[in-house]
């Protein structure tokens, strides 16, 4: 081991980090227990506590594990697993005495690190978890290395360490992906977002949260502000005060797909934050959706299981009214109940005057506009007959008050109507090309049935049109805005800007890392294939050409080298002077002549002459090779020779 001391200091630190990372999985008592065990490990590292015996650790483990089993129901299967895993890691460290045990510890910690991603998917948390993974890798290194590598070695190795990144990303992008193989338990956590009930006051609470609900990427530009009604739930039961999802809602027939689809369909990708609910968000009538979603009545969709981590799904919608699915739906949405008597009278009066359902709806909106109604985050409390109190008493309310009153009035006027819960609007970021919808964009509106289709009607638009067009901030008074905490960000623009940038970064993280799925991988593969197909033949042709050229060149050179060129040609090449010989003369004669003209090279030239004669006339190969060698050796001398024309 490189250093026991280092290992025993780093390991408790990592485990402390693990405890904090898995915070959502713990109960207060298990958290206390784990922190205590962690403290013991730290004490051990500082030699204040001896290493525990295996027996003692086993006893502690058995006792605590029994406690976990007894509270299995409270914990839920997944959190139980987390408890057991972390307990084993913590106790293993306390009784660590051999290297093989340390290896097991490192192994378990890798697995726990993987489980951390079940609870956290944001970029910052992912960075933290990968840092913890690096710590664990370091622990593993400490187990097997004897000393730190030298700086020189590190420098040499770092280039190869960088290879890690392409291998890693290549695997991520190209390694085959599978759908979920089997169902695993999810962690139990409180649901966020819209609940299954709307009371006066619930949405007001929700809009005080600035947290992201979901983000949307549109394939062809976003729809207009007034069309961004994200449907999540329909509330069809009303007890005079509270609207709720009908208990038999999921058993009902699905809405019929529209007979003729309007041309303007929208394709978009939703990246939803964990809500621990199954409902998902869609615009208008969904026409197509990803495989992990399933259709519900009333044109709604839901996920296969509660959304416990950030997910993304692809949708295609038509922005048209949802069709009615069956008679039960009409029946449920016509029930007025035995309450709110004053509004009943008012609805009767309206119905008597207005000729059509649309006219009734318009009359109700007109009423809101003309009378003194207020749009506020802090409406006064309402009583048992909440609609009566609102319409004829307080006249101040938030979207749910207006939706609730409108839906009830429509029903009392004989028109089937329901309250729809979801989100309205969102912030569009043109540079990043996405729509950010937060919890504060939570909204409630109404749908009423005319001619077999549910027409949306937003009474809030009548009382506060800015809400629809500019978002919540535009519709609220300064005091209300302060309540939402906007004042703080208004004062610190730099901080707000930074927050926004981080949010954009988080968006790209969601789209490219978290949202990378099989479809995208298939798309990547097909683009690689397309690239390959397009460039395959040119590349092959180029390679072939290169191959043929180089082979030909090589063969030619080889041939040149091995071909015994004519000796006379060589002679000519080596002794340029011979080119000026008289045509009638033979080479021998010319050489003799040359020798006569250059007495200091006569011996050499006569030798050449002799060798030439032997090789040509006696076909002496040895003489030929000797001659070639000689010509090569005396290249420079021979090149300088000049033959003057013979006068004779």
């Amino acid at each position: 081991m490189l250093s026991q001391q280092r290992f025993f200091l780093l390991a408790p630190a990592l485990q402390c980090l693990l405890i904090l990372l898995l915070l959502p999985a713990w109960q207060w008592w298990s958290l206390t227990l784990f922190l205590l065990l962690n403290l013991l490990a730290f004490l051990q590292a500082m030699d204040k506590l001896p290493v525990l015996s295996l027996r003692a650790v086993n006893l502690i483990a058995a006792a605590i594990a029994l406690g976990f089993v007894l509270s299995l129901r409270q914990l839920g299967a997944m959190n139980f697993l987390m408890h057991i895993l972390l307990l084993s890691a913590l106790l293993r460290l306390l009784a660590l005495s051999r290297q093989s045990e340390a290896r097991q510890l490192v192994w378990v910690q890798y697995f726990v690190l993987g489980c951390c991603f079940l609870f956290h998917q944001s970029m910052a948390m992912a960075a933290l978890i990968f840092t913890a993974t690096a710590m664990n890798l370091l622990l593993q290194y400490l187990l097997f290395a004897e000393r730190w590598p030298s700086t020189q070695q590190l420098k040499a190795d770092s280039r190869f360490l960088l290879l890690l990144i392409p291998v890693w990303l290549g695997l991520f992008l190209l390694f085959p992906r599978l759908g979920p193989l089997w169902q695993l338990p999810n962690s139990q956590q409180a649901i966020t977002g819209l609940a299954n009930e709307i009371e006066p006051g619930t949405i007001e609470q929700l809009v005080q949260s600035n947290a992201t609900a979901f983000r949307v990427r549109f394939d062809q530009g976003p729809p207009a502000e007034s069309e961004r009604y994200w449907r999540a739930k329909v509330f069809e039961r009303f007890d005079g005060r509270r609207w709720s999802v009908h208990p038999d809602f999921h058993r009902r027939a699905r809405a019929q797909p529209p007979a003729e689809v309007q041309s303007d369909t929208l394709s978009y990708q939703v990246i939803a934050e964990p809500s621990f609910q199954r409902s998902v968000f869609s615009l208008g009538v969904p026409l197509q959706w990803s495989a992990e979603l399933e259709a519900l009545p009333a044109g709604l969709l839901r996920h296969q299981r509660p959304i416990s981590q950030r997910i993304s799904y692809q949708l295609q919608s038509s922005l048209q009214p949802v069709a009615v699915s069956d008679n039960a739906e009409v029946h449920w949405n016509s029930m007025t109940g035995n309450h709110n008597p004053r509004s009943q009278e008012f609805a009767d009066a309206l119905a008597a005057q207005a000729p059509s359902p649309h006219a009734v709806a318009e009359a109700i909106l007109q009423h809101f506009r003309q009378q003194e109604f207020y749009y506020t985050l802090r409406p006064p409390p309402l009583g048992r007959h909440s609609v009566d109190d609102f319409l004829f008493g307080s006249r101040a309310g938030f979207c749910s008050h207006y939706a609730s009153a409108t839906a009830l009035l429509l029903r009392q006027a004989g028109i089937p109507a329901r309250v729809v819960g979801g989100y309205l609007g969102g912030d569009w970021y043109p540079e990043q090309q996405y729509l950010l919808v937060r919890q504060r964009d939570a909204h409630a509106w109404v749908e009423y049935l005319v001619d077999g289709a549910w027409h949306p009607l937003d009474p809030t638009a009548a009382i506060a049109p800015e809400r629809v067009l500019d978002g919540l901030d535009g519709a609220l008074s300064d005091e209300d805005r302060f309540l939402l905490g906007q004042g703080i960000f208004g004062q610190l623009p730099l901080l707000g800007q930074l927050r926004l940038q981080l949010m954009h970064l988080d968006y790209y993280w969601s789209v490219w890392v978290l949202g990378f799925n099989q479809q995208r991988q298939d798309a990547l593969w097909s683009s690689i294939k397309a690239f390959w197909q397009r460039w395959l033949y040119p590349l092959l042709a180029a390679c072939l050409l290169l191959l043929v050229t180089s082979t030909a060149l090589w063969l030619w050179r080889r041939w040149r080298r091995h071909q015994p060129a004519g000796l006379s040609a060589r002679l000519l090449l080596a002794i340029p002077a011979l080119r000026h010989k008289a045509n009638a003369d033979s080479y021998q004669q010319a050489l003799v002549q040359l020798a006569a003209q250059a007495p200091d090279q006569a011996v050499l030239l006569m030798q050449i002459n002799q060798l030439y004669e032997r090789s040509v006339f006696a076909e002496d190969e040895q003489a030929a090779t000797k001659l070639i060698q000689l010509l090569k050796q005396q290249r420079k001398t021979l090149a300088r020779l000049r033959l003057t024309a013979q006068s004779s």
Binding site: G114, A126, I129, F144, R147, L171, F175, P180, L184
Partner: protein
């Protein structure tokens, strides 16, 4: 299991033959891609299992980050193959044959290691000992040989789990270095060998070693009869005693044709005497049952004498 072990032994034998072919010099080795072997350790296989588990977890929860972690570990695994190899690649090992020692003393096989870059956590082991090295240029493998003789070093294994214990990189060095283990010197009981032993000792010796007995011949002194044994077994009643013809010449040391413990005892004593004579500067000769060395002096002569003793 037995089958597996036999299979393993066979593989090892094949491996050694193969290695012997690979290394032509037996005292200097250079580790390279032709001689290094690389394979995942058991922990490496556990690590792969971890990656599979993470893949399943990530797939079932459709969680890309878990998959990302799994792929990170996979690429770490793949890269650690290279790092494990590189740790030993290019390492040159020179071995020096161990100096001769007397039986029971510590033998030392000196190694010189040189490499262009450092190496780490290198475990060098022979059949009976191992050392862990990190970047030392020199090291020594020590062990003791309890019996005299002329030995050859066996196959040395050089292995490393560096950097993460996932991959084991190793090689065998079939270093056939010979070394001598001389008998351990023991001061003789009396000045000369042969009659040196007392009658008691002889009797003791004889009772444990029946080959020290011979048939009675006329002229054998009565003192040499093994009386206790004679009562039980009448054959070979006389205790054999080495011939004492050399006694006259003190320069000659003689090893009589003995066996077993008696021989060892005798060799140890002769060894002691050799060393004593050498240090006193008196010439000495050695007579063994096989051959003899004429009296001489000097370290070379001493070495030759000791080697004779080791091989007796």
């Amino acid at each position: 299991m037995a089958l597996l072990r036999r299979y393993r032994q066979q593989v090892q034998r094949l491996m050694q033959r193969w290695l012997a072919k690979k290394f032509n010099s037996a005292s200097s080795f250079q580790l390279n891609h032709a001689t290094l072997l690389v394979f995942p350790t058991r922990y490496g296989f556990w690590f792969v299992l971890l990656i599979v588990l993470l893949y399943l977890l990530g797939t079932n929860y459709q969680n890309n980050l878990i998959l990302l972690l799994g792929y990170l570990l996979l690429s770490v695994f793949v890269l650690s193959i290279w790092f494990a190899w590189r740790n030993l690649a290019g390492l040159r090992i020179e071995l020096q044959p161990p100096d001769p020692v007397h039986a029971g003393e510590s033998l030392q096989l000196n190694l010189r290691l040189s490499t262009r870059h450092g190496f780490q956590a290198l475990k060098l082991s022979s059949h009976n000992n191992s050392i862990v090295l990190s970047n030392q240029p020199q090291a020594a493998l020590r062990w003791t040989e309890p019996k005299r003789g002329h030995y050859q070093t066996g196959v040395l294994t050089i292995a490393s789990d560096y950097p993460l214990g996932l991959i084991r990189c190793w090689s065998y060095l079939p270093a056939g270095l010979s070394y001598w283990v001389y008998p351990a010197p023991l001061p003789p009981q009396q000045q000369a060998h042969g009659a040196a032993q007392t009658e008691d000792q002889q009797q003791q010796l004889a009772s444990s070693l029946p080959e020290q007995l011979k048939n009675y011949q006329p002229g054998d002194p009565i003192k040499r009869l093994h009386w206790k044994r004679l009562a039980r077994q009448p054959d070979h009643p006389v205790i054999r005693v080495a011939e004492q013809s050399f006694r006259a010449d003190p320069r000659w040391l003689e090893v009589p044709p003995l066996h077993g413990a008696a021989l060892e005892q005798c060799l140890s004593e002769v060894c002691y005497q050799l060393l004593a004579l050498e240090s006193k500067g008196q010439p000495y000769g050695l007579r063994t049952p096989k051959d003899q060395l004429e009296p001489a002096l000097g370290p070379l002569h001493l070495q030759q004498c000791l080697q004779r003793l080791a091989l007796c």
